[in-house]
C-alpha cells in the first residue's frame, strides 16, 4: 500500500484555493464557478439524489452495453483467434469496421433506436466491442503452443481447449482490452446522452450549461470524473484478483 501522497493532495488544495481567489478577484463567475460553489452544488446534488440518479441512469446503459461487448468480444475473439482460417476470413471485415468511431454512429443509432436506452446501449456496445475483440484475438493467437500440445495429448476436445487453454492464456490481453473499452464506453455513453439530451449525466450537464448553472455543471463533471476513476480502480482490483498468476510486468500498475 503506497503511503498517501501528501504533497500531491496539498497541491490540489492549493490549486483549488487559487481558483477560488482568482474567480472572486477577477469576477469570473460568469465563465468559471468558484470551487466553493461547486462543492456546495456537489453536496446538494448528492444529498438530493439528483446527481446519483443521473449517474445511475448512465450506469444502466453503460453496464448493459459494456457487458454485451465483453461477452461478444471474448467469445468471438476466442473462436476467431483459435482458427487461422477464421482469422483470415474475418480480417478485412474487422479492419473495415474497426476504424469507424462509435460516436459517428450516434446519429444513425438515433434513427434506428430512438432517443432512449436502447440507442445508448447500442453505441456503447459497439464502441466497447472492438478493443476487447482485437485484444482477445491477439491474446488467443499468442497462447503458448506447448500448453495446447499438452491439452491435445491429454485428450481434451477442441472446445475444451478453447475454454481451458486459450481463454486463460488470453486473459491478460483481454483484461487490457476491457480496461480500454471501459473508458471508451463511458466517453461514448456520455456523448450519446449529451447529444440526445434526454437522460443520464451527459444530458444533465447539457441542461446545466444551457441554464447557465455553472456550479451544478462543474459538480456533474467532478462526479463523472469520479465515476471514471472508480470504474478504473475497480477493474484493476478485479484484474489483480483474477489474474494473480500473471507476472508483474504484464499487468497494469
Amino acid at each position: 500500500m503506497k503511503q498517501a501522497n501528501l504533497v500531491g493532495w496539498l497541491f490540489v488544495v492549493l490549486v483549488t484555493g487559487l481558483l477560488e481567489v482568482g474567480v472572486r478577484l477577477f469576477e469570473l463567475r460568469d465563465s468559471v464557478p468558484a470551487p466553493s460553489a461547486v462543492l456546495r452544488a456537489l453536496a446538494e446534488g448528492v444529498s438530493s439524489g439528483t446527481l446519483s440518479g443521473e449517474v445511475g441512469t448512465t450506469l444502466e446503459s453503460y453496464a448493459e452495453g459494456l457487458g454485451l461487448a465483453i461477452a461478444a468480444g471474448i467469445v468471438l475473439g476466442l473462436v476467431i483467434g483459435s482458427s487461422r482460417t477464421l482469422l483470415e476470413a474475418s480480417s478485412i471485415v474487422i479492419e473495415f469496421l474497426r476504424p469507424i468511431p462509435a460516436v459517428a454512429l450516434i446519429p444513425l443509432a438515433i434513427m434506428v433506436f430512438g432517443l432512449g436506452l436502447p440507442m445508448r446501449r447500442f453505441v456503447i456496445a459497439y464502441a466497447a466491442l472492438w478493443p476487447i475483440l482485437i485484444n482477445t484475438l491477439y491474446g488467443a493467437r499468442g497462447a503458448d503452443r506447448l500448453l495446447h500440445d499438452v491439452a491435445r495429448t491429454s485428450g481434451v476436445t477442441r472446445l475444451g481447449r478453447l475454454v481451458s487453454v486459450t481463454f486463460p492464456a488470453a486473459l491478460p490481453s483481454i483484461a487490457t482490452g476491457i480496461r480500454v473499452s471501459a473508458s471508451l464506453a463511458l466517453l461514448v455513453g456520455v456523448t450519446a446522452e449529451l447529444v440526445t439530451g434526454t437522460e443520464g449525466i451527459g444530458s444533465y450537464m447539457q441542461r446545466q450549461q444551457l441554464a447557465y448553472q455553472l456550479p451544478e455543471l462543474y459538480a456533474a463533471i467532478v462526479v463523472t470524473g469520479f465515476l471514471g476513476y472508480a470504474i478504473n480502480v475497480a477493474l484493476r482490483r478485479a484484474e489483480r484478483h483474477f489474474l494473480f498468476w500473471v507476472g508483474e510486468g504484464r499487468l497494469a500498475r
Binding site: G8, F11, V32, T85, I92, P101, V103, T191, L214, L217
Partner: protein, 261 residues
C-alpha cells in the same frame, strides 16, 4: 508459384471474398426489403461518389483535419512536456499525480459544456477539447517511458556529467521515444473521436457536423457516406502514423531485432 505463396494469396482472397459476400448480402436484403434506414450499398456508394469530390465536402473535411491537427499538436506538446517533467523529477511527479489522475479519469466529452461557456462554440472550443483528450495518453506514456529508462543508462548520463536539461532531452527523450510514440498512436484515435464530438455541437462544417446534418435532413445514404468516409479517414491516418513511426523509430526496431513494418 510456391505452395506458400498460393496459400497467402488464397487467404487474402478469403478475407476479400467474405467481405464481398457480406456486402452482397446487405445489398440483396436492402433491395428485397426496402428500408429507409438501411439503404443498399450501391445507393450509399453512388451518393458518396457524387458528394465526396465536391468542394463543399472537401472543405468540410479540411476544416475537421485542421482542428484535429491543431488540437493534436497542442495536446501532444503539453503531454510530452509534462510527461518528461513528471518522469524525470520525483518531486514533480508526486506533486502533480493526484491532479493528473483525476483529470485523466474525466471523459473528455464532459468538459465540452464547460469549455463552451468559456470559449463559445467556435474552433477554439474544439481545439481545446481535442487537446485535453489527446494530452493524457501521451503524458502517461511519456512518464512510463522515462521511468523505464534503465539504471545503467541513467548512471551513464550521471557519469557523463550531463545537466538536467541535457539529460532529459538527449537521453530520456530518445530512450522513452518508443513509449511516447505508442501514446501518440492512442491519442490519434482519441483525437479523431473528439473532432467528431466537438462538431456535434454548434458546428457549421466538418465531418461530424456533416453526418449529423444529413441525419437531420433524413438523407440516409449521405449519412452512411459520411460515416464511411470517417472510417476511411481513420484508417488512412493510422497508416500514415505507422509510416512516420517506422521512420522515427527505425533505430529502435533494428536494435531490438524486430523487423520494421
Amino acid at each position: 508459384m510456391t505452395a506458400a505463396f498460393l496459400n497467402r494469396v488464397g487467404r487474402r482472397l478469403l478475407g476479400a471474398v467474405v467481405f464481398g459476400a457480406a456486402l452482397g448480402i446487405w445489398e440483396a436484403w436492402a433491395r428485397s426489403e426496402p428500408s429507409f434506414l438501411f439503404p443498399p450499398v450501391t445507393a450509399v456508394l453512388e451518393r458518396a461518389w457524387q458528394v465526396w469530390p465536391t468542394t463543399d465536402f472537401l472543405t468540410s473535411v479540411a476544416a475537421s483535419l485542421e482542428r484535429l491537427a491543431a488540437g493534436y499538436a497542442l495536446g501532444a506538446g503539453i503531454g510530452i512536456a509534462a510527461g518528461l517533467l513528471m518522469g524525470s523529477l520525483r518531486a514533480a511527479r508526486r506533486t502533480l499525480e493526484p491532479l493528473v489522475e483525476f483529470l485523466r479519469a474525466v471523459p473528455p466529452v464532459a468538459i465540452v459544456p464547460a469549455v463552451i461557456v468559456v470559449l463559445g462554440l467556435g474552433n477554439g472550443m474544439r481545439i481545446a477539447v481535442i487537446a485535453f483528450a489527446v494530452c493524457f495518453p501521451v503524458l502517461v506514456n511519456t512518464v512510463e517511458g522515462v521511468r523505464a529508462v534503465a539504471p545503467e543508462t541513467r548512471d551513464t548520463a550521471a557519469m557523463l556529467h550531463l545537466g538536467l536539461a541535457e539529460t532529459i532531452f538527449r537521453i530520456y527523450l530518445p530512450a522513452a521515444l518508443p513509449s511516447i510514440v505508442a501514446g501518440l498512436r492512442v491519442a490519434l484515435s482519441i483525437g479523431v473521436i473528439m473532432v467528431v464530438i466537438s462538431e456535434f455541437v454548434g458546428a457549421s462544417d466538418g465531418i461530424g457536423h456533416y453526418i449529423l446534418f444529413q441525419q437531420s435532413q433524413f438523407n440516409v445514404p449521405e449519412m452512411y457516406g459520411g460515416i464511411l468516409f470517417l472510417g476511411l479517414l481513420g484508417y488512412v491516418l493510422n497508416r500514415l502514423f505507422l509510416l512516420v513511426e517506422d521512420h522515427l523509430l527505425s533505430w529502435h526496431f533494428r536494435a531490438a531485432g524486430e523487423p520494421t513494418r
